[in-house]
Symmetry: C2
Subunit: 501 residues, 2 copies
Amino acid sequence: MGWTPQGKHLIAGEWVVGEARFRSAPAHGPAHGFAGGSADLVDRACAAAEEAFCTYGWTGREERAAFLDAIAGEIEARAEAITAIGTQETGLPEARLQGERGRTVGQLRLFADHIRKGDYLDRRHDKALPDRQPPRPDLRLIQRPIGPVAVFGASNFPLAFSTAGGDTASALAAGCPVVVKGHPAHPGTGEIVAEAIHAAIRATGMPAGSFGFIHGDRHEVGAALVQHPLIRAVGFTGSLHGGRALYDLCAARPEPIPFFGELGSINPCFVLPGAFAARGAQLARDWTASLTMGAGQFCTNPGLLVLRAEDADTFTAAAVEALADAPEQVMLTEGIAAAYRAGAARIGAHAAAVLEQDSRGRNARPGIYRTSARDFLHSHDLGEEVFGPLGLVVTTTSDDEILGLARALDGQLTASLQMEAGDTALARRLMPVLERKAGRVLANGWPTGVEVADAMVHGGPYPASTNFGATSVGTLAIRRFLRPVCFQNLPDALLPEDLRG
Amino acid sequence: MGWTPQGKHLIAGEWVVGEARFRSAPAHGPAHGFAGGSADLVDRACAAAEEAFCTYGWTGREERAAFLDAIAGEIEARAEAITAIGTQETGLPEARLQGERGRTVGQLRLFADHIRKGDYLDRRHDKALPDRQPPRPDLRLIQRPIGPVAVFGASNFPLAFSTAGGDTASALAAGCPVVVKGHPAHPGTGEIVAEAIHAAIRATGMPAGSFGFIHGDRHEVGAALVQHPLIRAVGFTGSLHGGRALYDLCAARPEPIPFFGELGSINPCFVLPGAFAARGAQLARDWTASLTMGAGQFCTNPGLLVLRAEDADTFTAAAVEALADAPEQVMLTEGIAAAYRAGAARIGAHAAAVLEQDSRGRNARPGIYRTSARDFLHSHDLGEEVFGPLGLVVTTTSDDEILGLARALDGQLTASLQMEAGDTALARRLMPVLERKAGRVLANGWPTGVEVADAMVHGGPYPASTNFGATSVGTLAIRRFLRPVCFQNLPDALLPEDLRG
């Protein structure tokens, strides 16, 4: 007997249905019915989160760490069922779901350890100087949780960027209740993870409204969530179009709130001359492997490859050869597959096809296109992300042209250099430009595979993200859901527990 | 021979004029002519800031610290002239200008010391784990400057929140060039401080565009500045109306940028029963002193005083007595004085006048009004800031009513408790509410007098500020102008200087 979704929302610790309904559209396996969201259900979940905050926001760090660990344990206890429903709904292979589950529970435990250490509180103490003129009061600063946070499940990471993903883990770690709007492309996967969190809430005695989960396949549900007066911030990973619409709603509120949106990137990779000379064919093979992994459905997919014109024929030939036997891969949704083909057509209208993508239905095959830096700079379409296994090779004729191309790029999650020692001079010229364009700059690697760590930045200038000061991966992500509060001359009895003594 | 303003903008190290002109309207002394700003001049200043960033953004911390110290020295070298023009333009007394100058140079030196220490860089290093499967790369994180920053001079702090104030000091400390839009209420004061910064730029060899200064008395100049594509963030202290308009422009940009606006507050002060019993009359006197200092023109002016109904007659009688000989004080501008009278009339329409304000022209006299918590909660007008020496006393009949009032407040810069040991139980009930409402919570003090220190928070939930995660005073203010960047597997030669080794 496998696990079957109930198709219900989780609100204030109860599984509830509403009037609207929708059916899942899995890549394989049976479709299921799910309750649709509504503004009224969103309101109930937000009210429950606000009520929970009065308790949850003042829990001790050890209590919250134990809660995060319990969520990880409950997810592991449902491992096989999560993999089963996840592979059905997304079409991603089993190994990917298993790996992503490991990443998700590792992320929860990393945040548990992070808050146990307490450095994130940024505690500061200016002692009173009673003899100074004027006297200085006693001042203590600490970072406090902001209140209920809305999180949107992402289509492309059904676990690590969804119901119990990095946004949820960092908000719960900070002390903020979370209301998740589940992604309709994997509603059952979202629901079983919500079940795991619900079980952890009961096991650790956390308030029922600390976590809510709303299904929904209509924009109105997400709009109601980000506009709800009790929501203090939003975590989102998704498309530029959808993310900007939600950002605009957040900014237009009577009381604006921060919208932490990670909206995608083309992740430029620069193959410098020395690196090409040393290992050009290998680089082409490695690039195609990164480009086609998971049907290219990664925010950090290396969609743009820049190299010298004289190296391009050899490079693209090796790339095409490496892709000769590339299997068709099922994409996350029919809509994403259709958007991939439309994006490939848009690129194909401005750039030469080296390998024409040729895919049908929900499946994708890789496409490789080629253009010159000059043409790239004259067509803004070529710089817009195509979500899927599509690579654009841009050829350059001088170091200055490489620099000009780098300067013209939009904000990126990542920028990569393939280099040898002889490329250092050119790389040094590129660094100040790339540093301003991207949240992460890497050498001799490919951008896919985002490590969950203290030093990770998954963010960057717009449109890579809507807040260049923030990251959605790594322990620094917790800062999004904190605000500094100064306590002046307060007696110990009134100070937050973490500031006493 | 005193100092006389040239009436020019500072752009790319040159003093320039444009076509528009306006005249200053000082409280006393001669009026002067000033060049007006324009979108074209803003564009030139922003282009110069961007060019300067290519150098200034990569200066060493010691170089920037020396630059900040040099600015402080150049301001001190112009001390008498600054006080002279400042008192003329603002009507503030000499002692205030002198004190504010001390605060301003202290702030510059504090940021110099802060960046010398380097903790603000938040450096993180996850060492490579080559034997792990998959291997972990070497990851290093550092906070880097964001690029050119726009700063608006504030009417009420001609030095500490204006040309070389906290926003400018923290942005320059971070490594960001600054373009200041001077406040037209004190254009000469702005200009002489710009001269001081210009002298420091030349003395320390900083790039000319590291600092620009644009005069202007029209909204178009500010609008052009916040919408300029090269500006990466905005620092602003001013009115809710003006600040929200600029916030909306920032959010509506093709590439949105953060707008760090500090928009004011009514700074609730709760006089708890034990404190009233112990020292009610003294509290009334101290309150009026805080309320009328600088004609009440402080963001942290204690405009709202909450106490038990049975204590109110005694309290207000003592307050009125303390104000019996309060002198008329000149306000910063004619417009601010007119707005003060309009605000007092608005409050007077909903609350009883205990002491009717009675002021004319550019002068202000204090006003004290009184209402019940019930009436306060039914009239949102009573919760809106009146900029000036106006106090509203709100009476309560139970602890629950005090809590209900606190919960209904908008976001605040500060919330204050006057308490004795016997008030601890009530104070403990209030703390979770006040902590969510304000950036700073204080006991047995008045909110005016914002210490510039590591643990200070001058910010808070909207409308106190537009970013509850930030402060505009204290060393944490530097974080507004930084963004995290992750460097993965980069050779030492390509790392920022602060990450090498």
